[in-house]
């Protein structure tokens, strides 16, 4: 169908995007790899030279390292689990015949428009604050001690805040998938005596597989790099209880001012992201083919 010349033109049209993205990816990556093998401390600029793999071994031997990795994965997994389970439930609820579906959708989508620093500071101050927060007031109203959310349950609190931000995204995609499900199929199954649970298990859920795949893929990409919410709320603490890999890197770069170590951490983060991506693509690639 396409002629030789139209193929050439087509390549020419993709070229700017590919070249720009390649530069955008490769230059910082190459610099990061270079720095990761160098001694590079902003606080002692007179010391420089090759560090060998010491920046990497520092990271691997750091007591926070495995905690940081597991917190990173916990954050991604936790938010995915919450947003998908509640996303499915809320999408099914909104999909029922209700009055005011338009305004309803507007309310549900709203958290998506709240920028991360605002979302984090609203939750930290207006809701989770142990003295002035609304949740503390509610606890006192019930005659209970206010819960120190960010101090006692830092990871759970961060996961909760991030889930609130991403719930609209999951809900909307799942809702769109639900709306394309034919009600005849469900009615036929109901006639045949299938219970509500098995109708969900064998008809609704398989229909949403592709939508769930999209949610997992897109959210994982964004969640692996989550930083702002932790920076605003817990600062990785208390101690290092809510430190994730991106936050560890940030601490090395801007607090310890050790660029070499931060770069080594960056490369570890890139490798981790690629491992996660590899498994994602392998297990989900087949659902994505158009």
């Amino acid at each position: 169908m396409a002629t030789q010349s139209s193929r050439a033109t087509a390549r020419l049209m993709v070229a700017p995007s590919v070249v720009l993205l390649f530069i955008w990816m490769i230059v910082p990556l190459a610099m990061t790899i270079w720095f990761s093998f160098r001694i590079y401390r902003l606080l002692s600029p007179e010391r420089s030279g090759w560090a060998g793999v010491r920046n990497y071994t520092w990271f691997f031997n750091s007591p926070d390292f495995w905690l940081g990795i597991s917190n990173t994965l916990l954050l991604v997994g936790g938010v995915l689990a919450i947003t998908i389970v509640f996303g499915v439930l809320i999408a099914m609820l909104i999909d029922q015949p209700v009055w005011g579906q338009g305004p309803l959708r507007i309310l549900v989508i709203s958290p998506f428009f709240v920028m991360p620093p605002v979302a984090a500071s609203i939750w930290e101050n207006l809701f989770m604050h142990p003295q002035n927060g609304l949740l503390a007031a509610a606890a006192r109203g019930l005659g209970e001690q206010p819960i120190l959310f960010l101090e006692s349950y830092p990871m759970a609190s961060v996961i909760f805040i991030v889930s609130w931000e991403w719930l609209p995204f999951a809900t909307l995609i799942l809702l769109t998938a639900l709306q394309s499900l034919s009600s005849e199929q469900l009615e036929a199954a109901e006639m045949d005596g299938a219970s509500a649970l098995s109708r969900f298990r064998y008809i609704t859920l398989p229909h949403m597989t592709r939508a769930i795949t999209v949610v997992i893929l897109i959210q994982t990409i964004f969640l692996l790099g989550i930083f702002g919410e932790i920076f605003t709320t817990t600062q990785g603490g208390p101690g290092s209880a809510s430190t994730t890999l991106p936050y560890m890197i940030y601490k090395q770069a801007l607090i310890a001012k050790d660029i070499g170590r931060a770069a080594a951490g960056g490369i570890i983060a890139v490798v981790l992201a690629n491992i996660v991506a590899f498994f994602l693509m392998r297990s989900m690639g087949k659902h994505l083919d158009a």
């Binding site: 590919v18 720009l20 720095f35 209700v98 309803l104 920028m115 007031a137 394309s180 999209v214 991106p246």
Partner: protein, 276 residues
């Protein structure tokens, strides 16, 4: 009989759905309400609603304390600029991948998306150095470029899925009639793709508006958008709840209103064409 049952059913689901929706929306609502209270009323325990002291003082305080119009203007320029520039580069790319696919097209798309997998914190220092060296640091141009490149994979993906839906026969007919590639894109494809392009545009303006890592780390004063504005209002120990709420409301209101009006396009856009 059947009718009354279905009305009761509808009433039940309406109440349930609205309760859930209000619960999700409540933090935003509470922030907006708090922004109109006096500081004392904002931290009152038990929380005040009907008996609260309402005031506009917080907004005038925030307005006086910082240069909101400049932050706002930067946000507008950066988010619209990066989106428009991104569309200009992405439309030809998505067009050619959708209509002249090669056997590597799927891999290319996946690779593009994978460039987003690099955690921003990992490349913070190189980016900082590059921006300093090239004079792009703390300039709107620098942020427009950075956010454009950051969102380019998403823009291309979305456009690709939209373009895929356009029937190829129409294009073939145009080619038969001797339309050049340029005319094909300008007069046939673009009008058919306007809804898809509009959704893509809307989603990317929101993503750029809400971006809060590069916009804060790569700016100081001149190019700082609203994400930096709000970072400067993180008051210690909740002494300024009402002002913090007012500043938060001012930072999110423009995009919230735009999003509400454009939610139909946005829902389409968000699905990446993956769900029909």
């Amino acid at each position: 009989m059947a009718r009354s049952v279905s009305t009761r059913r509808k009433l039940f689901f309406t109440v349930a759905a609205w309760s859930v929706a209000l619960l999700i929306f409540f933090p935003v609502l509470w922030t907006i309400l708090t922004s109109f209270k006096t500081e004392a009323s904002a931290v009152a325990s038990p929380p005040e609603l009907l008996g609260a002291d309402w005031t506009l003082q917080n907004y005038s305080d925030v307005w006086a304390r910082s240069d909101y119009p400049r932050f706002f203007l930067n946000s507008v320029i950066i988010s619209i600029g990066s989106t428009v520039l991104g569309l200009l580069i992405a439309i030809p790319a998505a067009w050619s991948m959708a209509f002249v696919p090669g056997n590597k097209t799927k891999d290319l798309l996946m690779w593009m998306l994978s460039t987003k997998m690099m955690p921003a914190a990992a490349v913070l220092i190189p980016m900082y150095l590059i921006f300093q060296k090239t004079g792009l640091f703390d300039t709107r141009t620098g942020l427009v470029l950075a956010l454009m490149l950051m969102n380019l994979p998403v823009i291309i993906w979305m456009l690709y899925t939209y373009f895929k839906e356009i029937p190829g026969e129409i294009l073939e007919a145009a080619r038969m009639d001797g339309a050049s590639l340029k005319n094909e894109v300008l007069y046939i494809l673009t009008p058919m793709a306007i809804p898809g392009i509009a959704s893509t545009m809307l989603l990317n303006i929101i993503l750029a508006w809400n971006e809060a890592f590069w916009t804060i780390t790569l700016t100081t004063i001149n190019a700082a958008p609203l994400s930096a504005f709000i970072a400067s209002f993180s008051a210690p120990q909740g002494l300024f709840y009402a002002k913090l709420s007012a500043a938060s409301t001012m930072a999110i209101a423009p995009i919230l209103i735009m999003g509400w009006f454009g939610q139909k396009q946005l829902v389409r856009g968000l699905t990446f064409g993956a769900v029909k």
